[in-house]
Amino acid sequence: MNVMYFAWVRERIGVPLEEVQTGAATVADLVAELSAREERYAEAFADVTALRVALDQELSDFDAPLKGVREVAFFPPMTGG
């Protein structure tokens, strides 16, 4: 699946978008898997309460299942307007 990062999450992880091969069942599982992989992920995901997640461009939450999802995005709370 495609995983996207925005704002300071993108800066910490160092890429805006990457393709990730994973069997993670939920968003939280994906976060744990990435955090175990490299320190830059562990840092970015250290406090998930400071993060938001979108699945296929709809706001979702960290308990949500990933089955059938093609695009996951992680970002801080939005500051539009």
Binding site: Q57, A73, P77, M78, T79, G80, G81
Partner: protein, 145 residues
């Protein structure tokens, strides 16, 4: 329900005039958000967004407003990229037969754009750059609706 997400500047007055007509319209409300330079130190503001999700999120907010109030139309323009202090960032306009609907809907759309449309602001000053933190008050504002 025109929605535009663009890098280019826009002319808020010209947009207001182009939006304002229509049979049965008695009230037009506009909101323009401007890059604010509180203490004269802001060099630039950078706005990042999530192409695709941005348009979907704004369309959902506008649809919600059209369902809640009696509106003739809603306009949303939001810029991304690098903006100087004083530049218009975005505007929302609503039009209706009645002023209460136009006011409430513009206020509602602004509250939701702040916290539910995927934009992130980064401010650059002489001291460096920093991402603008979301305010609890902006999240709390959604509970009004």
């Amino acid at each position: 329900m025109p929605v535009r997400v663009q890098e280019d500047a826009f002319d808020a007055g010209a947009e207001l005039n182009a939006f304002s007509g229509g049979d049965g319209v008695g009230a037009v409300v506009s909101f323009t958000g401007v890059v604010r330079d509180t203490d004269g130190t802001l060099a630039a503001m950078e706005i990042e967004h999530y192409p695709g999700m941005t348009e979907r999120a704004i369309a959902a907010i506008v649809d919600d407003a059209m369902a809640r109030w009696n509106l003739a139309d809603v306009l949303v323009i939001h810029r991304y990229g690098s903006l100087p202090a004083g530049a218009p960032i975005m505007m929302v306009a609503t039009k209706s037969a009645h002023r209460a609907d136009a006011f409430a809907a513009a206020d509602f759309v602004m509250d939701y754009l702040k916290s539910r449309a995927p934009f992130w602001k980064k401010e650059t000053t002489a001291d460096g750059s920093a991402w603008v933190a979301a305010k609890d008050a902006d999240e709390d504002a959604l509970k009004r609706w």
